[in-house]
Symmetry: C3
Subunit: 350 residues, 3 copies
């Protein structure tokens, strides 16, 4: 049912051109695809990064393997030797990705407001709706069924997939990629209780997405309350992530799926946040902080390092129930141990 | 404000036709709707499954009750006796569901690419956008404002609700149902750090949704990195679920809302995963594993059974804070108990 | 790149008109914007609510500060004295919010079904799709690319942002605001296992959204199984929240991002639920219950108060791993302490 792709084939020389690698073997070898080390066929290329897979190297059916110099010693086929095989793989795999066929220009079914500046090399997909004063830069691709609010701007080489909503005055910079279903610039959760009733606090800030950011699908990134919400350069967000108002995420931080970041949190550069973690409001994570998955972060972390919370490790439910009950009496247990210690101290004194 | 439905009424004989049940009472009785056991009116049908509700049976105002043979003894009205009352209810309730009025054919506002094969009995809703080489089977319904990428296919009797995004080369098989806001086939979270900067790893795999799968709203199902992401036959997913790249979910597994499944996890057949749970990357769950809600699964589970993690049970916050602090000194407490034990051992030796 | 806003300026007298505040200083002062206390410029207004920011008051560059009578004593500029500065700020900030430019009427690209009643003052955005028998009240705004199902209704002054999906027969009342990507009325997660296979249980109920509700982006609110799912008056929901079928949320309850509420839970009035919490199915929270972030609520809470679960407090990972292991032997530790106690009791008896 899948349409036949145009015949894709490259020599190893073509694939490795410009990369800091050494081909040990025949660089005129032609490959037609990529596969895992255990499944690769004689015209496919594969890679070895995870040591757990080294045992499959001797048996691989691949034409060539991207790997380190050390691993290449036991490689039975052509080696593409790299100091960083996963990065080399990423670069080579790009040759085999399905090309995007975005047509340049504004689709006839798109609705475009007044005073927009849309670069002639940009692609605006079918049924997109752009407000007034929207700016779209060179080589931008906006997928089908997207909505961009008044005064928003999208800078050059940015790709926005189908079904994304961008609110008014959101700034999206260069080479950003946003996946479907993501919402950028909705009102932050600002509410003030007065006389028993919640009143909306207007959200006057914007969202700024810096260069080279990647955002997964179905994320919610709120606009700032007064100042802006800022996603720093090179940040990578997975899917279903909540970014509250006024949050600032530092450069090159990567955040896995289903993370909830409450309002006004400040996250440093080069952090890694595991899936399902929650970051409390108005706190700071220093640069180079790693948070393990599903941790609840309730206070500021000032030093780089790996941090966790929660009661880790899955156990059979009957055992877990017993220990969980005990947990709720832990303070009493500590008191009991204290009593024991003082009684024993008295005893041993004698 | 709701439009008057067409008059819906059925006899018990009509409703139970083909079902493995016994009507104890008048099967010519006419019912016009379904309600809960406490709220049912004299022309409505109800069911009894949860033992907690048995106390309401004697007083029910319903015309008839779907229940087990044992429960039927105390049923004051007509009994529909079933070995599986909830299943029987599911089948009978279908008669009272609001019928979908999808018009056959491609809506004039839809945008359809080149070389698509759309069956003449399919319905493509208003403002849908289909790429090139899309295949749509018999009796498929695609709701309004959906986007389907190049080379995607949707097989017979599948329903896709409004506002769903399906990326290129995604395969959706027969009798699948997908709710609004769900995104299928977005890029997996593949990133490689090189020289301090994250580089995108192209995501070359597809997503395959097998027959009879049901997917709730606002889910994110990523395409595979090299191999495919596969949702097995009969799998049921609730809302806001993240399925990472390369994940494989076995047949007839059911997953509740807000579960996060990290990349390359393999989940067995007939599993049950509670709401808010997190499944780590590159691990396996055996068949017939049950995970309780909000558990963090960080290693492979090889045997069937019920598993949990976390510190369960909600308690008043002041008590919780005291015990939580103690938890972070639990290892020291164990050391203190060890010391006590050795001192006592010495003492009692004497 | 942002379009120049129309010149916005107000005197303090204009901004405080009708509010229960006292201007201490020149109420003819003109302000042109709002900023934080540390960043405000001489023509901007700011506010002081959080005691942590009081230290910046003496140095503020603002024209005027909204604050309490007590704080006004040390205010170097014009004071706007309020018993509730945050509420006063909310009201004043509304003057500086970007006005919505929704055009009255039905956009030419919208697709509207049969027998709809759309008030002449309502705005239906581009590429919206309305089913049959849809009712839209006065001054309602439906953003671009929304879908509203058959028999749904939206009452006066309600705003629905772009890209929202509302299923059939959903009732949305007055002055409601719904952000993008939210799905209301999708089928609840009702499945019945029979002969090893899950069968769908038809979801026959509706969703009712009462007056003055606010719902964030990418939320999923399921329709009821038999009765309705009800979001009570004045409820405020943040982003990415799951509300299962039959759930009832009481008046003026506020729920932070990424909360998962399982089916048939009943939540009281005036509750506060922290981000990332999970509320189990078929349980009740009393009025005035506060749940701290990321708690797992597994049983009914009958009394007002603050409740928590989980093992709080983030710690360095190496420490956490040690304590987490101990947690899984907590029951054994309790037994060891018991033994110690009885041995000691024997010893001290002598």
């Amino acid at each position: 049912m899948i349409p036949t792709s145009p015949k894709i084939q490259f020599t190893l020389a073509e694939l490795t051109k410009g990369l800091d690698v050494t081909v040990q073997g025949d660089s005129a070898l032609v490959v037609t695809g990529i596969a895992t080390i255990t499944q690769a066929l004689p015209h496919q290329i594969t890679f070895l990064m995870n040591p757990r897979y080294k045992k499959y190297l001797a048996e691989t059916g691949a034409a060539a393997v991207i790997l380190t110099k050390d691993d290449s010693i036991s490689c039975p086929v052509t080696s593409i030797i790299s100091r960083d095989p996963y990065y080399t793989y990423a670069k080579i795999a790009a040759y085999f990705a399905t090309p995007t066929h975005a047509e340049i220009g504004i689709h006839a079914s798109a609705v475009v407001g007044q005073n927009c500046h849309i670069h002639k090399t940009a692609s605006i997909g079918p049924h997109c709706v752009l407000g007034n004063h929207v700016t779209i830069g060179p080589n931008v691709v906006i997928g089908a069924n997207c909505t961009l609010g008044d005064g928003s701007s999208v800078d050059e080489e940015t790709y926005i997939d189908a079904g994304v909503t961008v609110y008014h005055e959101v700034i999206i910079k260069k080479r950003v990629h946003i996946s479907s279903g993501t919402v950028i610039g909705s009102d932050g959760f600002g509410i003030a209780k007065h006389a028993g009733v919640w009143h909306k606090v207007p959200q006057l800030g914007r969202v700024i997405i810096e260069d080279d950011v990647e955002i997964g699908s179905n994320c919610s990134i709120d606009r700032g309350a007064i100042e802006d919400t800022v996603i720093g350069q090179g940040v990578k967000l997975d899917n279903l992530i909540q970014v509250g108002h006024n949050v600032r995420i530092g450069k090159h931080t990567a955040i896995a799926g289903c993370v909830a970041i409450a309002g006004s949190a400040i996250i440093g550069d080069n952090c890694l946040i595991g899936g399902g973690a929650g970051i409390g409001g108005h706190l700071r994570l220093a640069d180079n902080v790693v948070i393990t998955g599903m941790s609840a972060i309730t206070h500021t972390i000032q030093d780089p390092g790996i941090y966790s919370s929660g009661a880790g490790g899955v156990v059979p439910n009957h055992k877990w129930r017993k220990n969980s009950v005990r947990l709720h009496h832990l303070d009493e247990l500590v008191q009991r141990v204290k009593s024991l210690e003082s009684v024993l101290k008295e005893l041993t004194k004698e």
